[in-house]
Amino acid sequence: MNPPSAASILRRNLKVWLALLALLGLTLGLAYVRLGSYGNTVVALSIGAAKAGLVALLFMELRERESLPRLAAVAALLWLAILFTLALADFIARLPLQALHFG
């Protein structure tokens, strides 16, 4: 396989960058629209996750089907999921009910 040319490297990465900036504009705009009690937080974090996904898959090359980096990335996500699920399950179960009505 020939190494890619400068133009093809720039073209491919510029597309990812444009998508990232578009998502940034979207999340900034939607932050000023009232979307219900949980809506704004859910939208802001979902767009954040989409941006992180683009960076991880395309800039960090997780798309490249190489197993060891994927193993490390999935391990990080798994342990983060355990950390958040166990800690918040305990924490939220102890809250008085009225505290859970998000403004």
Binding site: I9, L24, V33, P69, L88, I92
Partner: protein
């Protein structure tokens, strides 16, 4: 080439794979480190929903958004630099590294302007903290801790990217055959990903 290939790897391809994997394991530990901070933030935010929204409104959305755009762009220049190094395009790789350095310094400069304004507006949660709502102090405790620890990571990034650019400028093989550009680019992208999550947590709540 022999300066690049080290013990115990039989060839450069294996060495590059090992550098990538080693960096990914380090990044996984970094993700858990910041994850613990974000978990503590989440627990406090669930307790003080209204107060966190009101306090977050006091952060400067313009500085925060400009810095997000700067970091996203620096990820672009870093990705181009790493790919160019692998494709033996030395000038493009060096240009990408220099632009990444400039953007990283711009990020810290904007951060400095923002911190100065925060201090003028008495948003340091000390004796003269301006907001009267007690949980606002907790929010700003997280704001200063998370952004400062992130800024430390940006500074470390400037150090390693500067080192790589310097070596690459001196010698072709230090850039184009070496596993370093790829590994350092991975670190830089993680610094970007962490900011991608800090931005909606610290700057966006309470705007609607």
């Amino acid at each position: 080439m022999s300066a690049i290939l080290r013990e115990p790897w039989p060839d450069l391809e294996r060495e590059r794979g090992a550098a990538r994997f080693g960096m990914w394991v380090f990044l996984a530990s970094e993700a858990l480190f910041f994850g613990a901070l974000i978990l503590a933030y989440t627990a406090n935010r669930v307790l003080h929903v209204q107060s966190f929204a009101l306090a977050a409104r006091e952060t400067n959305i313009i500085y925060g958004t400009v810095n997000t755009a700067i970091l996203l762009t620096s990820s672009l220049t870093m990705a181009v630099a790493a790919e160019a190094a692998r494709a033996n395009l030395r000038r493009l790789a060096l240009g990408g590294l220099l632009l990444t350095l400039v953007l990283a310094c711009a990020f810290l400069a904007v951060k400095g302007l923002e911190y100065a304004e925060d201090l003028r507006e008495q948003l340091w949660p000390g004796a003269h903290f301006r907001l009267t709502d007690p949980p606002a102090r907790i929010f700003f405790g997280f704001y200063w801790t998370m952004t400062a620890v992130h800024a430390l990571h940006v500074s470390a990034g400037i150090g390693v990217i500067g080192w790589l650019a310097w070596r690459g400028w001196r010698r072709q093989s230090a850039l184009c055959a070496s596993p370093a550009p790829n590994a350092i680019a991975l670190y830089w992208h993680l610094v970007d990903v962490i900011w991608i999550f800090l931005y909606p947590l610290l700057y966006l709540p309470g705007r609607a």
